[in-house]
């Protein structure tokens, strides 16, 4: 469901370059030829150390985002307005957790164990999509998440589904299929509030105002500041630049928001008819980095809830543990 469009990396560029130097140049060339021919890389195939590292990071952070993203929504299940909305939200949250499992499996095929990924999430070493560090204050927040954050995630995931790593692409295909239901139910709830009573409209407009900046943050910093896009795009790990995806998102969804008589809290937002690109006020990127590094309103709560679940589910896992089962990696 929701992928982090922007994948956060700790700066250790020096170590990276050394790793890259150890790749066999002949194998590297053959690998890059395979990618440029459009072939998929499968588990067990030779791959550059940096390609493996970046993919683990990308898929793992995507998996964490799915699981953490279910928290702000899951807590609204008990308060959803009406039985149908409640059922839809339960189904959506179940999907999100399922997506997390699919993605953890895809990352595992690259050699990092499930437990290591969970530990890195709990210790704060691995990140997840920044948008989930904000609270869902009202039902309208859940509606905005269900419509616009899922829409943003779909833009990102549809692009990544054409990437070069086979298991990730296959997981994303299924995820995108289920995601289309999330988008539809989110849009439906969104329209209901937008065309409802004045109180409903005000609640939705407030939520939209709160979420606009996180949504603009979703695809990550502007291309001109992005660190290592070039190589990742050549290897088809990253399939579209941050600005391209943001533009594509605005192109599709801003008209859908405006047509309902809602406004967006950016006076500069408009599509330039000459370039076909959207112009907007740059969101506060310092805030983005502050939040991704733990300073957001919900960073602490999200991780604590996740830790709580791990700790309180442990006795179940232990009780079921079969000591004769040895750990293995997925085959494909």
């Amino acid at each position: 469901m929701y992928g982090g469009g922007y994948i956060f990396d700790e700066p250790n560029g020096k170590q990276l370059r050394e790793e890259q130097q150890h790749d066999d140049p002949g194998k590297l060339e053959a690998f890059e030829e395979r990618i440029s021919r459009g072939e998929k890389i499968e588990p067990g195939d030779w791959m550059p150390a940096e390609y493996r590292r970046q993919l683990i990071r990308l898929i793992e952070q995507h998996a964490h985002s799915e699981v953490i993203g279910a928290l702000p929504e899951g807590t609204w299940i008990t308060r959803a307005p009406g039985f149908k909305r409640k059922l839809a939200l339960i189904a959506k949250v179940q999907d999100e957790i399922g997506h997390g499992q699919l993605l953890y499996n895809a990352a595992e095929t690259l050699g990092k164990s499930r437990e290591a990924m969970i530990n890195d999430l709990l210790s704060g070493k691995s990140k997840y999509s920044n948008v989930f560090n904000y609270p869902a204050k009202t039902w309208a927040d859940v509606t905005v998440i269900g419509f616009l954050i899922d829409a943003a995630a779909i833009v990102n995931q549809v692009a990544n589904a054409k990437g070069s790593y086979g298991p990730y692409c296959r997981a994303l295909e299924r995820i995108c299929y289920e995601e289309s239901f999330h988008l539809k139910q989110g849009h439906d709830a969104f329209i209901e509030l937008a065309t409802g009573t004045p109180a409903q409209k005000t609640m939705l407009q407030d939520a939209l105002n709160r979420w606009w900046q996180p949504i603009m943050h979703f695809f990550g910093p502007p291309d001109k500041t992005s660190q290592h896009s070039e190589k990742l795009m050549m290897w088809k790990v990253k399939m579209a630049s941050n600005d391209e995806m943001r533009n594509q998102f605005l192109d599709t969804y801003v008209p859908k928001i405006w047509e309902l008589g809602l406004t967006l809290p950016d006076p500069l937002l408009r599509k330039n008819p000459d370039t076909g690109r959207w112009e907007y006020t740059d969101p506060d990127w310092d805030e983005f980095f502050r939040v991704i590094n733990g300073g957001g309103p919900c960073n602490e709560e999200r991780l604590q809830v996740r830790k709580w679940a791990e700790e309180h589910g442990r006795w179940v896992r232990k009780a079921l543990m079969n000591p004769s089962e040895r750990h293995a990696l997925p085959v494909a």
Binding site: E42, G44, D45, W46, T75, T78, Q94, G98, Q101, L102, N105, E108, S113, R114, E115, A116, I118, N119, L122, S123, P135, A136, K137, R170, A171, Y177, E178, E300, E301, L303, Q304, V305, K307, W308, E310, E311, R314, R317, K318, L320, M321, N322, E325, R326, H327, A328, L329, P330, V331, A332
Partner: protein
């Protein structure tokens, strides 16, 4: 932690301090099972992915949740990933077909050519 969450459900949990270290032990999330999905009776089972489970019975339960809650499904197989024996990926070339083997292919026998030639020679 004094919980100031907006979420009543979170407030009911007694959450530990933010600094608490929780470590998941290696193997605590069990083992990997490959899942094969059958769309209708008589169809072949298709590999769709994996689940983590402590034993095959639970692997089936998890596989049902994960892979059979949307698509049509009449049966599932699970098998421990560790039990799958496969060729080394690097040995792919051993499956290459010798293109000269058209003698064991229908297209390798041009009977009409010979018949026509025979008819013309009469």
């Amino acid at each position: 932690m004094s919980n100031e969450s907006l979420d009543p459900r979170v407030n009911r949990l007694k959450l530990d301090d933010a600094g608490t270290v929780i470590r998941v032990e290696e193997g605590e999330n069990w083992n990997v099972y490959e899942v094969f999905h059958q769309e209708k009776r008589g169809a072949r089972h298709e590999h769709v992915g994996c689940v983590h489970a402590p034993d095959p019975q639970l692997a089936l339960v998890f596989a049902k949740e994960q892979f059979a809650r949307r698509k049509k499904c009449v049966n599932l197989w699970v098998v421990r990933s560790a039990d799958i024996l496969a060729f080394d990926v690097e040995d792919e070339d051993m499956f290459a077909n010798n293109l000269d083997k058209n003698y064991r292919d229908a297209s390798g026998f041009k009977v009409m050519e010979k018949i026509n030639k025979f008819k013309q020679s009469k």
